[in-house]
Each structure stands twice: as C-alpha cells, then as structure tokens.
C-alpha cells in the first residue's frame, strides 16, 4: 500500500523563554486506507501532532509528507490549498457554524475549495443521506443533537473527497450510545477506502482501529 503520510523526526517546541517540548523526534508512517488511533494522556501531544499533520501549525524541526508532498516546506497559502484538497478534519466540539444550516455547513467546505454551487448542493445532500440526516438538511446546529452535529461535521470533512481524514476526539463530547453510532460511521468510511487518523482518549473507539499508537510526553511509546 502507498504511504499516504510519512512523518520523520518531528519535533515541536512551544515558547521562547520557557520552552515546552510538545513533540519529541516523532517518526510515523501511515499507509493509504489505514485506520489509526493515537491515544495517550492529556498533554501527551496528540492534538499537536494532528495540528502539524493538518498544516495548522509549523513544526520546530522534522519532515511531514502527505501524498508525496513535503508539507513542512509549504507556506500558509499552499497549506490552505493542501487542507482543502487532501485533508478533512473533525473536531471534538464539532465546530459547525451556528448561522448555517446542516447543508450549508457542508457546502462551506466545498465553497472554499471553489466547487460550483450546483455540485455543492448535490454532494451535500448525498453526504447527509449517507449520514442518515437527509431530514435535517435545513436544521441549524442548535436544532441538532450532539451526535447529529458530529455526523454533519464528519460529512463536512468528507465533502471534498479528501484522502486523509483527521479526527480529534470525535466522540469526546458524546454519550456512549451516540459514540457507538459515530464509530460505526467511521468504520464504514474506512471500509470505503478513507485513511483515518483519530486522536482519542476513548479506548473503545481506539479498539476499532487497525493500529493503535500510544503517546507519552511527546514521544511515541508504542
């Protein structure tokens, strides 16, 4: 299988006077179609690692390659294009726009990727159906349950049909039954060929993964 993500000797240090090493010389390779769970205690560096993979922050040193592109060499503009075309992100707190309906939240990601309005609408409806939310298309986030909001957020991450999906604590804000539902959706996506990296505390969710990576103090423990 093709290596969709290659991380080599990645280090991230925060602060100038008081320095905190959030990631310490991490190397990791993820193959296309894998479902990876990154677990570890709070502050171990899971979210920092996801942020660096997503190009939302710059590493202090090291290399990240996504789909063959060395992202650590890209500028803000190029990273934005990369995120739009190659990476979908799902957050713990859903991060939907309260002013937009479920459909519009999904369309937003495609608008940023400069897709036509017709194709946005068509794809958004497809994804809402896939997530079992066709009847909630016109609902705003405050009219949806936590699980429904997270399914909209997942649909948004899938909108541009990116190869890599990053999920930061996707069930962290949901009850156990809803978490189970979300896990099924995630597993189905993986079966459809998506490469998924999940940062999670949730050991039940981690067990769904093909591979579990345990982090401690900014290093990969296992």
């Amino acid at each position: 299988m093709f290596d969709i993500l290659v991380i080599s000797k990645l280090t991230k240090i925060y602060g100038t006077k008081v320095k905190t090493k959030a990631l310490d010389n991490i190397s990791l390779t993820v193959k296309q179609g894998e479902l990876i769970a990154i677990t570890g205690e709070s502050g171990c560096g899971k979210t920092t690692l996801l942020n660096l993979i997503a190009g939302l922050d710059y590493p202090t040193s090291g290399i990240i390659k996504i789909d063959g592109i060395e992202t650590t060499k890209l500028n803000d503009q190029e990273l934005a294009i990369l995120r739009s075309n190659k990476i979908g992100i799902v957050f713990q707190f859903f991060n939907l726009f309260p002013i937009l309906t479920a459909t519009e939240n999904i369309e937003l990601a495609m608008m940023i990727a400069k897709k036509s309005e017709d194709s946005q609408q068509k794809r958004a409806m497809e994804l809402l159906k896939m997530m079992g939310l066709a009847n909630k298309a016109k609902s705003k986030p405050n009219e949806l349950s936590g699980g429904e909001q997270q399914r909209v957020a997942i649909a948004r991450a899938l909108a541009n049909d990116t190869k890599l999906i990053l999920m930061d604590e996707p069930t962290g804000n949901l009850d156990s039954k809803t978490s189970q539902d979300i896990m099924k959706y995630i597993k189905n996506l993986n079966k459809d060929g998506k490469t998924i990296i999940i940062a999670t505390h949730d050991q039940t969710l981690a067990k769904f993964a093909d591979r579990i990576i345990i982090m401690k103090d900014g290093k990969i423990k296992k």
Binding site: L56, I89, N95, F97, A109, I112
Partner: protein, 389 residues
C-alpha cells in the same frame, strides 16, 4: 453557498450592530449630500436671480458686503444709506437708460413677515418685464396702492377687492403679478415715494438698479457714477461672485462638521469590524482548517465593509436629498431658509454626480476603515484562532 451569501448571514446575525454602524456612516454621507445638493441648488438660484434682476448693475452704499448682496437676491430687508441727493446726481450721468431707486422694508400680514419694496413702477416694469394676472399694474401717480407678488396673493388669499394695511396706512390692492418663480413672487410693491414717507427713510434709499446704453462701457460709467456720489457699483456678474462667496463660506464651515461626522463613522466601522474579528476568531480558525486562504478571510471582512459603505452612500444620499430641502433650512435659517421660499425649488431633481460621489466616498471610507481589521483577521494563525472557546 457563495461568499456573498455567507457574509450576508453574518450580517443578519448582528442586525442591530450592523444597523448602528451603517447609521454612523449614513449620517456623515447624508450631511455631505445635503450640503452639496443645497449648495448646488443655491448656486443655481443665485444665477437665476441675478439674471432676473433685469438690470446691468446695482448701485449700493460703500460699506456693503457679500451678505447684503445675497439679501438683495433674496428680496430681504436692507438698510438705507444712499442720500436722495446722490441718487439725483447719479441720474444725470450720461448713458444710464434706467436708474431705479429701491427701498426694501417689511410689514406683517396675518402676523407673518412680508417684504415691502418701494419702486418706481414704470422703471421696474421695464427692468423686470412683469405682467399682471389680475387687476392693473401700478401707475406712477398712484400713492396708497399696492401690487402683490403671486405667492403673497395666494398665501394670504388676497385679491384686488381687498385692502392691505402697511404701517397703519390703508392700501388698495390694484393688481396681482403673474408668477415669476423668483423672489418677486414673495414681495408686495408700493410706489417709492410712499415707501419713503411711511417708513420715514429720511431722504435715503437702499440701492439703485441701473441699465446702461452700452454694456461694454460699464467701466467708464462706474467711474462717472463714483465721481458724483460716494457709492459702490457692482455688476451682475460681481453680485453672482459675491453671493457665491457667501455660499462657499457657509459650505466650508459646514464641511468641518461633516468631517467630524465622517471621522466618527470611520471609527464606528473600525470598531465594529475589530469587534467582529475578535468575536469570530474561532470561526476564522475553523475556516482556515477547512482550507480557507488568507485572501478568503480578508475578502469576507472586506465585503462586509463594502456593503456598509455602499448602503451608507446610497441611503446617505437619499437622506441628504430629503434633509437638504426640509431639515437644513431649519438649522441655518439665515443662510438657507430664504432660498427655500420660492416655488421652483420644489422642482429640484436627482443629481447623478453627487450621488456617484456619495457612493464612492462612502465606499472609500468604509473600505479604508475595514482594511486593518480584515488584514488582522486574515493573518490569524489557525491554531491560535481555534484555541479561543
């Protein structure tokens, strides 16, 4: 979904704040539009009234300044300072076809002030080319007779069967003039000698209209007139210049207030947009995580200010248009109100140049005010922006 729709949804989320910001810039633009529209209308009025005088020049006391010339165009009361003896000497100057002495005073009709103009009937008829729509024009032999401007007759419902009391003297209304759409419509006219007597002007007159036989020799006539009398002679074009100076002075002074209003509007937009950037930090981070480039964020905020600027200019012009013909005359009665009295002002129309200026100026102010907040928003590091909960 498109960017305009997205921005519009944000505006709808904070309707009151948007409205208040819009109000700030609208007030500034409305003031500018009002001043410009009024200024343009006043300039037009100055030209038309100067042309309507019918004379080639006017003889005035030496001490008169621009405001008195405006008063003449306005048909307002002015003092008397030219001795009759000087007027008689002036009348003897060769080349003057008409020397029409004028006294401008005021009286009250139904408790409202009305201008009373003392004239030489036959000379004024030649100068102004008046026509009567009712009754007869004044004869030079008339004494306690009065002819009314058309607006006065209409406003006070007066006709030739009525009488008028001026300074406790009973006057017969001999006729009503046809409408001229000048200030002639808002005065009543009595014989010059009668005006001098009832107002006790002590052998002095307000000013003199003259018409000459050869306009190209005006400079010579002025010298000759000033040789025989201590007066000032001002041609119609100089009256226009002097009156326009007054308008410009008033407008420039008013522009200072406008600048303050515009500055307030400018900082209102800066404040609104800076607050919006702070409030939306997290959402900016989310947009960036979805792949939004800096230019997308920049455009999003700039479109908001563009909408404020465009609407501010558009609504400001409309408000200014209405205000210039209703509110401002109440604020500046001396300079403006008298210009509002004639009927033809109500026909004033849309001015495309001022409209375009208002839109462009408002856009320039709003976009300038929005540049920094929009730039700051676009430069927010995504991770830092998303840390805000």
């Amino acid at each position: 979904m498109n960017l305009m729709k997205f921005v519009f949804k944000y505006i709808m989320r904070r309707k009151l704040r948007f409205f208040l910001t819009l109000l700030g810039i609208t007030i500034g633009i409305a003031t500018i539009a009002g001043l410009f529209l009024l200024g343009a209308e006043m300039e037009t009025q100055v030209y038309s009234r100067a042309n309507a005088l019918g004379s080639d020049a006017m003889i005035t006391p030496q001490h008169w300044c621009s405001y008195e010339y405006v008063s003449v165009l306005e048909g307002e009361q002015v003092g008397e300072a030219i001795p009759i003896s000087d007027f008689e000497n002036i009348s003897k100057v060769d080349g003057l076809l008409i020397t029409a002495p004028i006294i401008v005073k005021s009286t009250g009709i139904d408790g409202r002030p009305v201008t009373v103009t003392g004239i030489n009937p036959s000379q004024m008829l030649v100068l102004r080319n008046w026509k009567t729509k009712e009754g007869q024009y004044l004869n030079n032999n008339d004494t306690y007779s009065v002819i009314l401007g058309s607006s006065i007759a209409e406003k006070f419902n007066l006709s030739i069967t009525d009488t008028l009391i001026i300074r406790e003297n009973l006057f017969n209304i001999t006729g009503v003039l046809e409408q001229t759409n000048t200030n002639d419509d808002i005065s009543v006219y009595i014989p010059f000698e009668t005006a001098a007597k009832i107002y006790n002007t002590k052998d002095k007159i307000s000013f003199v209209f003259i018409r000459v036989d050869d306009i190209s020799r005006m400079d010579e006539y002025i010298i000759e007139i000033q040789n025989v009398a201590n007066v000032n002679v001002i041609t119609n074009s100089q009256i226009i210049e002097e009156s326009l100076d007054v308008i410009k002075t008033v407008r420039n002074a008013s522009l200072l207030m406008v600048i303050i209003a515009i500055i307030a509007g400018f900082f209102g937009i800066v404040n609104t947009m800076a607050t919006a950037v702070n409030e939306r930090k997290r959402e900016i981070g989310i947009l960036k995580s979805l792949g939004a480039r800096n230019s997308f964020i920049f455009k999003q905020f700039l479109i908001e200010t563009f909408i404020i600027g465009f609407l501010g200019g558009f609504i400001g012009y409309i408000v200014g248009f209405i205000a210039s013909y209703s509110i401002l005359p109440q604020i500046f009665p001396a300079q403006y109100q008298s210009f509002q009295t004639t009927a033809n002002l109500s026909t004033s129309s849309f001015d495309l140049n001022i409209f375009i200026f208002c839109i462009l100026f408002s856009l320039a102010i709003a976009i300038t005010a929005g540049l920094y907040p929009a730039w700051r928003a676009s430069k927010l590091p995504p991770v830092e922006a998303m840390r805000i909960v």
